[in-house]
Symmetry: C2
Subunit: 450 residues, 2 copies
């Protein structure tokens, strides 16, 4: 409850919505108002006591329209929630009100070769399990794929395992169409196709409630999981780069962790020798043979290998990559936090090498190779030893001054975490579909500054 | 018959090989000693009267071993032939002797997800027809895919439709393993796997007779064929580049033809308006929607579209791309010939634009985008108005002086057409497996100069 929502007659609202699943239990409200923002010592104090007044769990679009209508009538803030695995408080209801939990809208409408139509609450792993039977899978998933929803990935995610092939979610072609429920006086369903999807893509649910998505699919290979170790970090980075640029070797994940990061991986402690730098990899089984030649060329050591068949069960390397790397580091040492960066084209890795030495163990290098505009580049989710906000900002500034793009994970403001510029298209769309500014208020800077 | 082979007792040889299919008919011998070298006015006079003494058509590896043994015993030159669609006289028997036609060794041993084992005589199109039923297809094919064989593609080809995704045949991972019959005193079968395949990959059959191949496969999409036209050439080139770099749009072919090349395409004369520059494209059907957005962005005009289902029948854009572009140009005007080039990284296309204007219609630009070491670059098969050998060499030199790599198609010498350096690995392998230098003599410079 906030100043905005304290005068609302919640009992009245609940009886208007009595046919829907409603949650008012305080513990549940607390839980369903949170995500993983606690990875950031900056966001932690800012968001910890934000809480919804009511959680509604619709099961179909008609119910969503109903909630939207009531929110407009009563001027209630509405924040959409998928699985709440975001890292920047994306789904935290800053002004209270209703959290619309879409996890029960989890129907797969159809799967065709290369394309699917789903409801937003479908979990990524559950989807892949089903679509792989037809030879297809999602082009990219975050490392939270077991729990995260497709709608939440589009609403608040960026890319992940698979981005080495298809780039990121924002790249043209990685989201085919969306259905959006508006918060106009008379809420409607709009269909956005093609480039128009960018109006709501990665908008933190600030300008429409996504109730359906058409998502392009990738062909499913039998994927093997491997860990390769190296004596020195630069060799591991160069190996990652060479693998990424090996057009004849099919891969889905190239994650490079500088020592001592691997020492935080409890499950692999017996596997990865102390002091080694490692590559966590997913390789198509038919490519394993040429892959081994590449490993030899870079003097790597394969210390772990799981066949595609085994990889479906138990430990998966996926859950040690992307932001799961940070999670394991923080489990071992809660004073650690992270950054998100994109290194500029630098084939000789001069800049990378500089950064590797410059900060030492204060900023431990964790690279995720991905494709951006046809080019393979290393993104980084550096594990950072946190001392103070000032020092963190100093580290960020040093990166930016050296041409490394930082996607700051220590802000819940849409623009500040991303491109740092106002997205006119998303702002204009918000003016149209959410004229009262009720959707996830406080997140889109362009809106509250306009 | 040549000086080398005139003392051979061909009747005796034939009776030793009487269980095999043998061809001695002069017309047939002439036909089976030729390929498409006539695209080059330089090669035409050099190769036109080269002819085999005997063509042998084995049906299995045992028969190949038998022929190899006899060739060694009698010191008979042996030149392997697939379908004879090479462009540089690769399979023309410079010293006569036996042409070993492998077109009857055309068994598909097995097709697994992402990998197949085949005999060398399997035709590329025939293979794809069968493997697509299982959801897989060859990673890349030449535009001669209807007639060319897999063994011939590995022996004498380089890449083609699909290279935009997987690079070229020489790239690690695009050829998994080969079986090779040697020409040692006691011919053997060797298996080469992994990087070792490079010993015989693109060696014009000079150092082993490939009798089996393991080839990695690509997932088969429903592929649509399209032609997009542009008012100016640079827009068409930039469109091709942007499409190549659109990681979220799945494609298999990006061929750009400067005007007046499209006017040579009889089948598309009604379709492509006079004076336009065009892009011949293969796009995955689920990517057509974002593709259309890209076309709009570059002010292109889709003038032809064939669905995946229709694309299996009748005219295919494939047969207007790669070196088929040259073929159609030469049908219209036999004084035309061609070059093969790779432009260096040049994101703004300053160099390309220079070349477009510099030579005018003497060197008409035909680009084929492909991936090399992870990077998308334009290869070119320029259509060249031939006047003299001197002028042709001048044109070549001008390209090379400006940093454009030329793969000269006007030579039958292995090294001169390719990297222009001696391939030590292939030479060493030839010393081992063909100590008498009987395999396709006169093609490997490193051998006859060593
Ligand atoms: C350990 C860890 C690892 C992670 N790894 C990755 C990674 O590899 N890649 C990556 O991109 N992210 C990653 N994340 C962040 C996050 O897990 C993913 O982006 C995930 O896909 C979010 O899905 P969700 O269902 O949990 O969304 P939520 O957190 O519930 O929502 C995310 C945002 O989308 C909005 N939203 C949700 N559903 C809708 C809808 N239907 N309509 C409109 N807006 C909606 C929400 O309001 C919110 O702003 C990671 C997080 C953690 C904690
Ligand atoms: C119009 C046209 C378009 C073309 N387009 C392309 C293209 O897009 N990409 C491309 O790469 N090429 C292209 N080519 C060249 C050629 O068609 C292809 O490389 C084709 O794959 C050759 O196959 P083939 O069966 O005809 O081989 P052949 O011409 O019969 O043989 C090619 C070479 O390989 C050797 N060889 C054949 N079989 C074996 C074997 N089993 N073991 C060892 N050596 C062997 C031969 O001795 C010869 O040196 C084109 C040619 C033409 C005429």
């Amino acid at each position: 409850m906030t100043a905005t929502t304290q005068n609302i007659d919640w009992d009245g609202i609940c009886s208007e919505l009595s046919e829907l699943e409603l949650i008012r239990d305080r513990n549940q409200l607390t839980k369903l108002s949170q995500d993983y923002y606690h990875f950031s010592p900056i966001l932690q104090p800012l968001l910890q006591d934000k809480i919804a007044d009511l959680v509604v769990r619709p099961v179909n679009e008609t119910e969503v329209l109903k909630v939207a209508k009531i929110c407009v009538q009563h001027q209630i803030p509405l924040t959409v929630r998928g699985a709440g695995t975001g890292n920047y408080g994306q789904c935290v209801p800053l002004e209270g009100g209703i959290v619309l939990d879409l996890s029960k809208m989890n129907k797969i409408n159809w799967i065709k070769p290369g394309l699917t139509s789903v409801e937003p609450g479908v979990k990524l792993a559950a989807f892949d399990k089903q679509s792989r039977e037809q030879g297809w899978e999602l082009r990219m998933v975050p490392s939270t794929y077991r729990t995260a929803t497709i709608g939440g990935f589009i609403g608040g995610g960026s890319g992940g395992i698979g981005s080495i092939n298809y780039g990121q979610l924002r790249d043209r072609g990685n989201l085919q169409a969306v259905r959006v429920v508006t918060m106009e006086d008379e809420p409607r369903v709009l269909e956005l196709r093609g480039d128009d999807v960018q109006k709501v893509n990665h908008a933190y649910g600030t300008n429409g409630i996504i109730t359906g998505l058409e998502i392009p699919l990738a062909p499913a290979y039998p994927w093997a999981e491997l860990i390769v170790t190296f004596d020195d970090f630069m060799s591991s980075a160069r190996f990652g780069q060479a693998l990424g640029n090996s057009d004849g070797i099919i891969k889905k994940l190239i994650c490079i962790c500088a020592s001592p990061i691997p020492s935080y991986f409890a499950a692999f402690r017996e596997v990865i020798p102390e002091g080694k730098h490692c590559a966590l990899l997913i390789i198509a089984e038919p490519s394993l043979e040429p892959f081994q030649d590449l490993v030899r060329q870079f003097n790597g050591e394969i210390c772990y290998q799981k066949s595609a068949q085994e990889a479906n069960k138990g430990t998966t390397v996926i859950e040690y990559t992307w932001n799961h790397t940070t999670l394991h580091a923080r489990s071992a040492d809660p004073s650690l936090t992270y950054l998100q960066a994109l290194f500029p084209p630098d084939p000789d890795f001069k800049l990378l090498e500089h950064f590797y030495h410059h900060f030492g163990d204060e900023v431990m290098l964790h690279l995720e190779f991905l494709r951006t505009q046809g080019q393979m580049l290393p993104a980084a989710l550096q594990v950072v030893r946190f001392t103070s906000e000032e020092r963190l900002n100093e580290i960020i500034r040093y990166h930016e001054d050296n041409g490394v793009l930082i996607f700051n994970p220590h802000t819940y403001i849409l623009e500040d975490g991303g491109m740092k510029t106002i997205n006119v298209e998303q702002l204009e769309f918000k003016k149209q579909v959410d004229p009262h500014g009720l959707l996830n208020p406080g997140k889109m800077k362009a809106w509250f500054e306009h």
